[in-house]
């Protein structure tokens, strides 16, 4: 994976497969602490202790087409390579939360990449369920995006309707620009 946003796209698929109704994604940059923290939290079916213990192994998977599952191990490796940490917590019947921190100035830190395209792909791929909530934060500037609000405004019209997808694209672009522009002014 060349981008952290591709890891996010991949890991959220686990939440979707786990039957989540809400997936909360947080991407938080902290300049003072020199960290980037990525959190993915879902209310899916969760894992028992046995599966949780071996889920960071590349040889653990729930799919049946093959015996390897690389999503979580690759993300963990990436965080640890960047002086970061990786934790995963899960309770059967309650959900799963995974958190990775990275040293932001680390040379091996991959680019965040196109998080907007990741969100669009997630919504397009799973338009009915779950809902997604994204928090994108750079120091004190933040942007919150929540499909529950959009769904409410749309009523029976699905999120994958092209006109809706276009609105979502514009809304995400505006939100990201806002967070990033303020940040750039400050660092100049």
């Amino acid at each position: 994976m060349f981008e952290l946003s591709l890891h996010i796209l991949d890991l959220v698929q686990n939440s979707i497969t786990a039957g989540a109704t809400l997936v909360v994604i947080e991407v938080i940059y902290d300049t003072d602490r020199d960290t980037l923290t990525i959190t993915i939290k879902d209310d899916g079916k969760g894992m028992d202790e046995a599966l949780l213990a071996r889920v960071t192994s590349p040889f653990a998977t729930t799919r049946t087409t093959r015996k390897v599952g690389l999503g979580i191990p690759m993300f963990k490796q990436c965080a640890e390579m960047c002086d970061g940490t990786f934790t995963i917590e899960s309770k059967l019947g309650e959900g799963t939360c995974l958190t990775a921190t990275f040293r932001r100035s680390h040379l091996d830190l991959p680019p965040l990449g196109d998080l907007i395209d990741t969100m669009r792909s997630l919504i397009l791929g799973s338009p009915d369920k779950p809902d997604f909530r994204l928090l994108y934060q750079i120091d004190e500037k933040e942007f919150c995006f929540d499909t529950r609000e959009i769904r409410q405004a749309l009523g029976p019209v699905p999120l994958n309707e092209p006109a809706v997808m276009e609105w979502i694209h514009e809304a995400l672009k505006e939100g990201f620009d806002e967070v990033e522009s303020t940040h750039n002014e400050q660092s100049e």
Binding site: M1, D10, Q13, G69, L124, A153, P156, N160, E166
Partner: protein, 126 residues
Amino acid sequence: MKSFAELEAIRQKTLDQVNLRREHEGTRVVVGMATCGIAAGARPVMLAFLDEVSKRGLLDVTVAQTGCIGMCRLEPMVEITLPGQPKVTYVKVTPEMVSRIVTEHVVNGRVVDEYTIGAADAEDQK
């Protein structure tokens, strides 16, 4: 900021189409979005299909996702099913191929043979 009033307008405008679409079987474009697909470049392929469908105003085409289709070395893979026809599987799809697949296959019903899994198999056996 994008306003929710705009969403309300979209709702008014598209509700009839949405209901109409629910009543009859349309074309499905399904992109493999497991770790293998994503690492091979499925995200831009999926969004390219959305853009193309949106640009052409194709009302009865749905772009969707699935997990690992089972042949990771051929990812990104895309399965296209036209109403009443067997599924066609495209392999090693790039965003550049999308416009041709939509024009020839989705709109005009002519499968782009050279991009299909059958063509990839024949190539392997050479």
